[in-house]
């Protein structure tokens, strides 16, 4: 069994875990200071059933004395937990959500678990785990314009396939890794599970230390992989030749350069989610949308990942630029990313999103198609009404 330093669940996974915990005969969590609950999936409540789940999450949290982030107080769990200083390098985070692998960006072993696992974590502070193998991914060189962390991880998934990382941890290194900001690292690690991996680790470095300053009180030490550590596979991604990429429907591994997806008509653009709803993504979106308009045949939704990001974007005038362009700005929520609510797709519709999954039916109708891309590409698609390289929009006349 592996000890966990933080146990997290949400309005979908939490209530299912609480029932399992009761059936385990356990009425108190192992350590209330290490448990955090976030209402984010059907938040704000989509219907009475969703409202009941959030009520249950809050009441349970209050009764157990654990931290609860509810409506208006938090945001999307993974961006939120990093932002709020829950994630410390070298620690273990068990999350009732598959994208808990996001915390690898800060050098923590964050991994997604089901609700029964989470119940055992709440009871024992531990989960069962086999030691995973390692896939080393060396990022070399400097990214070209309009290429982001999203493209780095799409390139890796394209290479590994959606099962290539099963029973492994992706470990990112090389000078290109050191150059990525924390927001970009979060985007990279977030999709490690899309290759089947348990987490996606970045070594904690100076960039990490700067990010953690003022967020994390606990002392931490940067863990580094031994140079002679055994790796199952080594991958090299040359950032200087990497173009913006798109994952075509219906698998995150269907990755092509944006030029190969060019001209596909787009009904909706969705910028947000636990992978790419950060200030970095919103600024990239604003670079494209400011002074331009969303194409009349296209809809655009921008979802800042947390309340803090929402306010910062508000202060920077980004939200005004989005609304002026004809996009709508949503409250932080998992929303339509998982097909829950707040802008799901209809039959025959096509979307470009900065989210992490494009499985059939993921964002609504079974007859809709989702393309995964970075915020530049998504915003450019909103303006053009079709998939284009972002430079095509920027070189056009602002309208």
């Amino acid at each position: 069994m592996v000890r966990c330093d933080v146990v997290m669940a949400n309005d979908v996974s939490g209530p299912v875990a609480f029932r399992a915990l009761e059936r385990m005969g356990v009425d108190r969590v192992f350590d209330p200071a290490k448990v955090v609950m976030v209402a984010d999936h059907f938040m704000p409540a989509k219907d009475a059933r969703s409202a009941a789940l959030q009520k249950r999450l809050k009441e349970w949290s209050d009764a157990q004395g654990v931290t609860f982030y509810g409506q208006g107080r938090g945001g999307i769990e993974h961006t939120l937990l990093a932002e709020e200083g829950w994630i410390v390098p070298g620690t273990v985070v068990a999350g009732g959500d598959s994208h808990t692998c996001t915390y690898g960006a800060l050098g923590a072993f964050g991994t997604g678990l089901g609700s029964t696992d989470i119940a055992a974590c709440l009871a024992l502070g531990a989960f069962w785990q086999r030691v995973p193998g390692t896939i080393q991914i060396d990022l070399e060189g400097t990214k070209r314009p309009f290429v982001t962390g999203k493209d780095v991880i799409l390139a890796a998934i394209g290479e590994l396939g959606v099962g290539g990382g099963t029973n492994t941890v992706l470990e990112f290194g090389g000078n290109g890794a050191a150059e990525l900001s924390i927001d970009e690292r979060l985007a990279v690690s977030n999709m490690a599970v899309e290759a089947g991996a348990e987490t996606g680790l970045f070594p904690a470095d100076e960039t990490t230390a700067r990010y953690l300053e003022g967020r994390v009180d606990a002392p931490w030490a940067a863990e580094r992989t031994d140079p002679d550590a055994e790796v199952l596979r080594r991958l090299r991604i040359d950032l200087s030749s990497l173009p913006p990429l798109v994952a075509l429907p219906h698998l995150p591994g269907n990755v092509v350069p944006v030029d190969e997806a060019r001209g596909r008509k787009v009904d909706q653009v969705y910028i947000g989610n636990c992978a790419n709803g950060t200030m970095t993504d919103l600024r990239q979106t604003a670079e494209i949308l400011r002074g331009r308009s969303v194409h009349p045949d296209c809809r655009a939704i921008v979802v800042p990942a947390t309340q803090r990001i929402y306010r910062e974007a508000l202060r920077e005038g980004l939200l005004d630029a989005f609304v002026a362009a004809g996009a709508i700005v949503s409250t932080p929520t998992c929303g339509a990313c998982f097909g829950g609510h707040m802008g799901v797709l209809g039959a025959g519709e096509t979307a470009v999103t900065t989210t992490n999954r494009n499985f059939k039916g993921r964002m609504g109708s079974q007859e809709a198609g989702v393309h995964l891309a970075n915020a530049y590409v998504a915003a450019a698609a909103a303006v053009a009404g079709e998939i284009v390289h972002p430079t095509e929009v920027l070189e056009g006349t602002p309208g």
Partner: protein
């Protein structure tokens, strides 16, 4: 020996969104969940599960994506005997073990199954039987075996912890 009738789920990389779409994640009762199992893949498969004797047989990397426990909970609610596949995604695999739904990875056995085959699994001998032909399964780790024998993670924790 756990035995049943094979319900074949063709294809590889079948994800948990098609097995149980996100819109239904606010359902908590497995009896209601089971009405949406395979909703995004092939809802007619539910008819095949009605007799309560199904063994779900799948391809490579089955269960990718979300950590949602709704698919294995719904399978259990339909009385699925066990899941046999070529390989599984990590979280789906451990969810089945944790919920006490036996799950077996064996490429040769899964490849030998046709729709309606008689399929059996003997956890003690570690063998799978498909229409009378036996296949050896790679032994699982001791803890996984312990969890399976206990009937899942809930009884396993209950036995260790008791009521605190």
């Amino acid at each position: 020996m756990i035995e049943g009738r094979a319900v074949l789920i063709p294809g590889d990389d079948v994800d948990t969104d098609v097995m149980y779409p996100g819109a239904y994640l606010n359902i908590g009762d497995p009896e209601q969940m089971k009405q949406y199992l395979f909703e995004g893949y092939d809802p007619s498969l539910r008819k095949e599960l009605e007799a309560g004797d199904a063994v779900i047989v799948v391809g490579e990397n089955f269960g990718i994506g979300s950590s949602r426990e709704h698919p294995p909970l719904a399978m259990k609610a339909w009385g699925v005997r066990f899941v046999l596949g070529k390989s599984f995604a990590r979280i789906f695999h451990r969810n089945c073990i944790n919920l006490g739904l036996p799950i077996v990875a064996c490429r040769e056995a899964a490849a030998a199954v046709s729709h309606g085959s008689r399929v059996g699994f003997d956890p003690d001998s570690g063998e799978v039987e498909v229409d009378g032909t036996r296949f050896r399964v790679e032994p699982v780790q001791p803890l996984v075996r312990e969890l399976t024998e206990a009937g899942g993670l809930v009884p396993w924790v209950r036995e260790r912890e008791g009521v605190r």
